[in-house]
Symmetry: C2
Subunit: 269 residues, 2 copies
Amino acid sequence: MARMCQFAGGPDQPAQNMGTVGKALDLLDLFTHQQPQMGLSLLARAAGLNKATCHRLLTELESRGMVEQVGPAREYRLGPAVLRLAALRESAVPTREAAMPVLRRLAEATGETAHLSHLVAGRLQTLAFAYSARHGMKVTMEDADFLPFHSTASGAAVTAFLPEAEAARILDAAPDAALFGGRVESCRTHGWAETLSTFEKDVQGIAVPLFDAASACSGALAVAAAAPRMTPDLRRLILTELRQAGAEITALWGGTPPESLATLWRDAA
Amino acid sequence: MARMCQFAGGPDQPAQNMGTVGKALDLLDLFTHQQPQMGLSLLARAAGLNKATCHRLLTELESRGMVEQVGPAREYRLGPAVLRLAALRESAVPTREAAMPVLRRLAEATGETAHLSHLVAGRLQTLAFAYSARHGMKVTMEDADFLPFHSTASGAAVTAFLPEAEAARILDAAPDAALFGGRVESCRTHGWAETLSTFEKDVQGIAVPLFDAASACSGALAVAAAAPRMTPDLRRLILTELRQAGAEITALWGGTPPESLATLWRDAA
DNA sequence: TGTGGTGGTTCACTATTTGAACCGTTGGTT
DNA sequence: AACCAACGGTTCAAATAGTGAACCACCACA
């Protein structure tokens, strides 16, 4: 079960399972903060689809309100139907709402930016963040973006506690396998991951993993601090608060940390 | 262009355009507050799909995080990916966020429950609402639900300003065509719609339509008041505030009311 | 008047989706 | 314990639905 990769060394698996609806959903993922709306041709090119195919998919998405066309250029953007789905999801399982108070408390206690992400479909998705009012200079973030595994503390923390197969996939894709592998390994032994100036210059990230009910890693909680004002004391404080908050959110989400990590955190406290 | 219904009296058009992704997206619409999660068989039955088909669609939705399976019964529920999409949509076009202050002000000024819905894919979707703190007894609402056209003031208001073809479709589906048609006609002449004890007993609804940039009706703003405390004065107040707030939200959304309604509202003020 | 860019449509080809029947479990009844 | 029904999930021949090169009409620029 651990090694599902039967094609030895097959480094390129560019096309995954490609159903029609998969392609349609991939289209939705093309919209970002940087490009919240785009035309048919651009979408087709970005998705690697024929224009006709892309058009049909978009039409179908539009008929259900998942995207909408706007302006004289008839560009596409995400539609209002997603709002209903999200509201329904949050009402059924209030992931974000439940974690927000803890997140705010963490930001307040550390004086730095707190940041929550969770694993969805193999990617690390920003769920929420909270700023502290203490300092004028702070690390700012964009909501609803994907986090790169290899350059963030959250990414390392999650990778450290992923099933072996998936962790291997991420490790293989790392540009600097040794460095990233080291961070992951360190997280496995200490219970937290740390980066400095990898995601962004002069930003120090410290992260702990979060877990679901099956003790599988489901996300990460991080503090992104301005490196210039970091001190050993502050670092100790962040670690303490982070472990505490991480345990809380995991509990709020109905999850349980794996035994190994639970003891690690207990000993540290 | 006005009358697209070429099959005279054709009352049953049960199957619309049915692409594969349409079916998949329809699955998402089956989740409600009442049933936030359901098993494979139930979903297949509710969607009118074969179990195998339904399973494949769900698997594909799950691979993109649009749904997730949970618990020993492996039931499905909406997944975390919808959160990202909604956050992105709100960031690109802050429909809800922009309207919230106006909505709250409306609730405060009238002392009743204010309610905002918009038209998506031919249905009226609850977008937000605001309560007033003035009275202990108030009309309460569920977010992220669909509103029936025929029994709500919002439904009548929207229908009154829809393109003829769509309005006819809704009118034809009305259980009491005369009553509903009367409400719609009244809204066309006065600029607002009103219901009493239709959606729920002892609830009086008053609604005005909202418009997009092309002066097409895109939603409705309503006040749901407890009928027992309604007075002519209160009703006048609600109407004034409602027109004002409706014009504001339409403007905030970058829309413009059709000239006919604009003059109606000007004269009333 | 050409050239290259849109958004959108057509239609023969075929690859994808479909659904009856199947399996292995589970949980309640007789 | 045997039975039954309903569950989630899988198989595979049959056929339906998706695909993409080539096609408009349009616009802007030169």
